[in-house]
């Protein structure tokens, strides 16, 4: 049976990733918004003016990678839950990915997890580093988890 695969090039090529030079410098937003949906809360919420949607409102968000501080304010506001923050320099071996997480129970800091790709396929082992409780973000929790750097562009979620 034919399946939708979001890890395929047709979809990945539509994502405007920050340059690898910028990624190596530290925390930065990765916006995986690839369709002309009329939507721009990411632009409105960014204090640093790092995200531009502009006119028309269906334009894809463009990240000014020099202005982005990787603060993560845009993660929980995105209705598509399509924004992640990557800290490539988390440790010598691992990078750290922060994702919006809207399930219970929330993982615990230090917990070992299985890292999954965009299609939910197992990629590698990882570890929960930080869980920001939901109240502040209007019910969306932010979970940061660490995994080997080489999968920085593959891993997008986890399961217990």
């Amino acid at each position: 049976m034919k399946e939708l695969k979001l890890g395929e090039k047709t979809y990945l090529n539509k994502i405007s990733f920050p340059s690898f030079e910028r990624i190596k410098k530290g925390s930065v937003a990765i916006i995986e918004c690839i369709e002309d949906i009329p939507c721009n809360p990411c632009e409105t919420i960014c204090k640093f003016g790092a995200i531009k949607v502009g006119f028309p409102i269906t334009s894809l968000p463009i990240l000014d990678e020099e202005k982005c501080t990787g603060c993560g304010k845009c993660i929980p506001i995105c209705p598509g839950l399509a924004i992640f923050v990557l800290n490539y320099n988390f440790s010598e071996k691992d990078c750290l990915l922060t994702i919006p997480y809207e399930f219970l129970p929330l993982p615990k800091e230090g917990e070992k997890v299985k890292c999954l790709d965009r299609d939910g396929k197992y990629i590698c082992e990882g570890k929960i580093v930080k869980v920001i409780q939901p109240e502040r973000n209007n019910m969306t929790a932010l979970v940061s988890f660490a995994f080997p750097k080489k999968y920085y562009n593959k891993v997008r979620s986890f399961k217990k």
């Binding site: 049976m1 034919k2 399946e3 939708l4 979001l6 979809y11 995986e32 918004c33 690839i34 369709e35 002309d36 949906i37 009329p38 939507c39 721009n40 809360p41 409105t44 919420i45 028309p56 409102i57 269906t58 506001i77 995105c78 209705p79 598509g80 839950l81 399509a82 809207e102 399930f103 219970l104 999954l116 790709d117 965009r118 299609d119 939910g120 209007n138 019910m139 997008r156 979620s157 399961k159």
Partner: protein, 364 residues
């Protein structure tokens, strides 16, 4: 017989916004809603809405619902709950059953915002317990807070199918898959991505052949289709599920508009037969207005704007004033929302409706 300036039938996003706008312009408003609380589908929608700040983007549906209810209350809009507007008769008389009594209400203007109904899909055993509409499933998990099944198969990959799949995961169910008969998904990729990255497969060019079970659903047979949508039977597959959700689109709920004598047109992109209306949301029957999904299936965001437009238009007629600037701003927000791959076709259909309205009204 009771007499009212404006009666709004259906207190969902469109109806509530219409009530607020009209009340702010000094109109006496009565909302009639058949449910125990108003808000329509907003209270099932626990995801954040798209759009801009003006569309309340990034805010969850039920939060918007609470905000609208508060405003309606503060403005002193009369709301009849658990009340059924069962018919519209001559001279804009509405028959209502309220508290077990038959009440006739005569209105100067009526706004019909009755929303939509889910499209069915028939397959053998779709009548067994364990097959339900995706909206029904959403009602069960988000309103009644009961899980109607633990292993779910979703039929249809439009936004409703994708969003309800995600909400089923949030409610603690396992979604074993989403099947879509078309070669590509119907909804937004970001909604698909939300469930895909937690391991829910989305099968394309696939359909359901039948539900399996004796007295309740125990499984489903799914099957890939060829380019003519004919099932390739030898590739069929059995999967164990206890709930099958049908998410194959919505149809405007327009019985009352038919009774009122409104003229209709068929618009596939808007879900079927839609009452003709002009740029003020007035139908071909004078002083009967329409707003929200029953004037063409779109989203809650557009329903709210259409409601405001209808509410102001009613106020203009009753008070003999003009609020063109305000209406233009609303129309601009509607246009802002009706762009892109998904919005463009709806925008064109809406423009056709207004054009046909003037053609038909002229020759009528």
């Amino acid at each position: 017989m009771e007499e009212k300036d404006l009666v709004i039938i259906g207190g969902g996003p469109a109806g509530l916004c219409a009530a607020i706008s009209a009340r702010k312009k000094g109109i006496d408003v009565l909302i009639i809603d058949e449910n125990l609380r108003p808000g329509g589908q907003l209270f099932k929608q626990i995801h954040r809405f798209f759009g801009s700040k003006e569309h309340m983007a990034g805010v969850r549906g039920f939060v918007i619902g609470e905000k609208l209810l508060k405003e309606v209350k503060e403005l002193g809009v009369e709301v009849w709950l658990n009340s059924i507007a069962y018919g519209i008769f001559k001279d804009k008389v509405i028959g209502v059953i309220k508290d077990g009594k038959n009440i006739l209400v005569k209105a100067k203007s009526i706004i019909i915002s009755t929303g939509a109904t889910e499209n069915p899909l028939s397959f053998p055993n779709w009548t067994l317990p364990g097959v339900m509409g995706a909206g029904a499933c959403q009602t069960m998990i988000n309103i009644h807070r009961v899980l109607p099944g633990k292993k779910v198969l979703m039929i249809g990959s439009g936004n409703v199918g994708l969003i309800v799949s995600y909400q089923l995961l949030q409610a603690g169910a396992e979604v074993v898959g989403v099947v879509e008969i078309m070669p590509k998904i119907g909804g937004y990729l970001v909604h698909a991505a939300k469930i895909k990255r937690f391991g829910v497969p989305i099968y394309l060019s696939t359909t359901i052949l039948e539900g399996v079970g004796k007295e309740e659903i125990e499984g489903a047979i799914i099957c890939p289709v060829d380019e003519n949508f004919k099932p390739i039977i030898k590739k069929k597959k059995y999967i164990e599920v206890d709930l099958i959700c049908i998410a194959v689109g919505l149809t405007p709920l327009n019985e009352l508009l038919y009774q009122a004598g409104c003229l209709f047109t068929y618009k596939g992109y808007l879900g079927g037969m839609v009452a003709l209306h002009n740029e003020n949301m007035e139908t071909t029957v004078e002083n009967i207005f329409v707003a929200g999904d029953c004037s063409g299936i779109e989203e809650a965001s557009t329903a709210m704007e259409e409601g405001k437009l209808a509410g102001i238009s009613v106020a203009e007629k009753i008070r003999g004033k003009k609020w063109e600037d305000e209406k233009d701003q609303i129309r601009k927000r509607l246009d802002d929302f009706r762009i892109g791959t998904f919005g463009e076709k709806r925008k064109l259909s809406k423009e056709e409706i207004v054009r046909e309205y003037y053609e038909r009204v002229k020759t009528w």
